[in-house]
Symmetry: C2
Subunit: 377 residues, 2 copies
Amino acid sequence: MFKILKTEGKARRGEFSCAHGGTVQTPVFMNVGTQAAIKGGVSALDLKNVGCQIELSNTYHLHLRPGDKVVRQMGGLHKFMNWDGPILTDSGGFQVFSLASLRKIKEEGVTFASHIDGHRIFMGPEESMQIQSNLGSDIAMAFDECVENPARYEYAKASVERTLRWLQRCKVEHDRLNSLPDTVNPHQMLFGINQGATFADLRAWHMQEIAKIDCDGYAIGGLAVGEPAEIMYEMIDVVEPFAPKEKPRYLMGVGTPSNIIEAVARGVDFFDCVMPSRNGRHGKLFTWEGNVNIMNEKYITDDRPISESCSCPVCRSHSRAYLRHLFKADEVLALRLAVLHNLWFYNELMAKIREALDNGTFADFREKYSGNLEKRA
Amino acid sequence: MFKILKTEGKARRGEFSCAHGGTVQTPVFMNVGTQAAIKGGVSALDLKNVGCQIELSNTYHLHLRPGDKVVRQMGGLHKFMNWDGPILTDSGGFQVFSLASLRKIKEEGVTFASHIDGHRIFMGPEESMQIQSNLGSDIAMAFDECVENPARYEYAKASVERTLRWLQRCKVEHDRLNSLPDTVNPHQMLFGINQGATFADLRAWHMQEIAKIDCDGYAIGGLAVGEPAEIMYEMIDVVEPFAPKEKPRYLMGVGTPSNIIEAVARGVDFFDCVMPSRNGRHGKLFTWEGNVNIMNEKYITDDRPISESCSCPVCRSHSRAYLRHLFKADEVLALRLAVLHNLWFYNELMAKIREALDNGTFADFREKYSGNLEKRA
């Protein structure tokens, strides 16, 4: 299922097999399609053209709209959104704690109000597994509590203990659902999620505990939520020795290109982040030469592509001047082109990281790019 | 330049040659890209995939943003938007009279306030020709006054006389600009525009007068602005005998599929309309079986394409259920897919009209579809 091809320091070059779409080459960036569509007018078909290997959708959003039972009735998420590659669904935990309001957390799960129409919803480990089973994703994520940083120690401790109990319940329910005769994807995998806020002892204890439960991979959650990057790197260093070597590791919701390079260096294999699409929608474009703010006046008659070293579909066809015009004229096409370019960049970033690992030159790659890709071009 | 291949009654099957992109098969629907982009996130490259033969952009909008001098500096509109097929630019006249405010009309031209930032702009026949020359379109439209319907007779008469004088000035300026050594497109053509509100005598007189000026084609403007379709058809019937037979006729801003079929039957060759993109953005989709409102609850688990008889890129890949979800979830991708489908439908409508004319079966086609394509599917 997960095969490590090569290592360089703690960095790992691997291959991960899913029920859909063959083998994912890792380290990998999952392209985010929250509501079974990529923000900015990008379809699953477009993902093929920007080098996406694996797509991520959101359990919370799809439970609300169109409803996971609708998606199930339509044959599951792959068929619904017309994407035949691997899909990871998050557990809904993060959104319950970041988007929903009027939350009440109990041992059974969380009651909250929909951010769309305020109706009351209950979600616990079993409900999260059931929704993800209906969606039929390749990888389901365990239901967890994502504690805000900075957190009180006592709260974080109680929470992480509960998140461990929730994982045990997730595992039981996930196994049960996979074995049902009419399940959408009987090969669905389950990743556990490490929590513990920014407390090293809680993080380490929790990772040791969840490692005892046989999951298909292990995520590190609750980071990149406002704490300095150094704290995030420290937490990865703290948990990495306890994360099973033979299973993939996924750093949730991270991050900038340099964050990703640094996390790969610390042994992480999977990433996802809204940054390429969100920044793109604001005209902020990633390039190997640094960031381009396409709204800038200086691009008004610049007939070069966003980046002369980029061979994405947008850079092959359109100029900075045209893209700037589209943003200034409030054309929806601006969002689409910017998001396509940024997703290509993130997918190419991962391809170059893999290439460096293949060649044994990742240390040089890290030296050259880490800390530099976020500067202004 | 324009060659009539076949006729059936007054309907004409023709071919029109432009400086860019070879030969346009007529009757043709021009796909509208107001600001050098098609609303809803559709690019010039996408137009190739929905059967578009000729694109239309708006002089008024491009003069304001990014500015026609910017477009000229970028090598003209074709290069700027990366579309190598024919482009028609309207004259700005219609927008000056429909979008701008604080209008003052004099013999020289019109002073008005930009709808974007209120700054005062003067546009007369010479300015319109200069802007369109900077854009480098294949077909420039004469600068005209588009009188509101219903109009007072005396006003309409004075206006149409002025519009004739403006055409004479357009022609002189257009010839001068085309002959400049550094002109963007020295082969730019000029179409005159017939006006006269809904007064048959003014319409007929004006068409006879503009026919004396050697234009490359003749448009009928100022219709489909609120008057009943029957009045529009009557006006076409009134002017058609005076429109030069050997030149293409263009009915501006029209219309529904049935409007187009009826106008073809009356001898019209060129069309444009925002309807496919605007309706699409509101979830209203054209099909050969009638209109589909994709927001309808009944499509929530409908896994059929928008139309089972459609082979557009959207119908080949996505279900009604998915498209409905995208609209309900406010995903920009909804707009893109709906607009692509509707543009394909309009382009296919024209292809089928041409095929019927080729086969001598246009009367049957008209009988079958006119008045029926706007019904609910």
